[in-house]
Subunit: 115 residues, 2 copies
């Protein structure tokens, strides 16, 4: 089915892009995992589940891009806040540059005039 192809393709398209979004979301403020899911899912095209965010955050921590702080919550278990390290901030800059390049390239191909 077309629907299958499209759903599958959409998954593939998001690879890597979600990492960019998560890092970008942490640029302005610290956030905890569950919150990031809600935050990004509010945006069309960036809907994601918890099984997606936690592996990403673990990777980020392992690679020294973020650090964590535990904080009590009155609405459930303690929240683990993630905040960017200088290294994470620097890498985010490079990723944004690479993203802009690819985005512009795609824009060029998809709007190409007929030859």
């Amino acid at each position: 089915m077309d629907a299958d192809f499209l759903a599958n393709w959409t998954t593939q398209m998001r690879k890597g892009l979600l990492e960019l979004c998560v890092l970008a979301a942490l640029k302005a403020r610290r956030m905890y995992g569950y919150d990031i899911v809600k935050h990004l899912s509010a945006i069309d095209g960036l809907v994601m589940g918890e099984g997606t965010i936690y592996p990403i955050l673990s990777r980020f921590k392992k690679d020294g891009l973020v650090e964590t702080t535990l904080a009590e919550s009155s609405e459930g278990p303690a929240r683990k806040y993630y905040q960017l390290t200088p290294r994470g901030r620097q890498l985010l800059g490079k990723m944004l540059a690479a993203w802009a390049e690819v985005r512009d390239g795609i824009e060029a191909v998809t709007t190409e005039p007929l030859l």
Copy 2:
């Protein structure tokens, strides 16, 4: 190394996006594999190798998105030209819509004002 992380991430980011570019490149005219590589590699951020294009084209053909025509060449082996089927053209439209949605979503996250 940061360089490793970035290189790896760039690879992941391109997943799916390259398929979009290939379909889009075929929108205006038929092309053969080697030619598509040269064509897209001329654009920064869309550089790709032959080991990438042929699996994509095979998938497209298997899924009925493109059809092929063989044509003699005076500069090497016969060229296998790929052209969009109506189904491929229709799917390209849907993919472009999904792409626009994700692109705009990322734009929103990465340019978010400080709270």
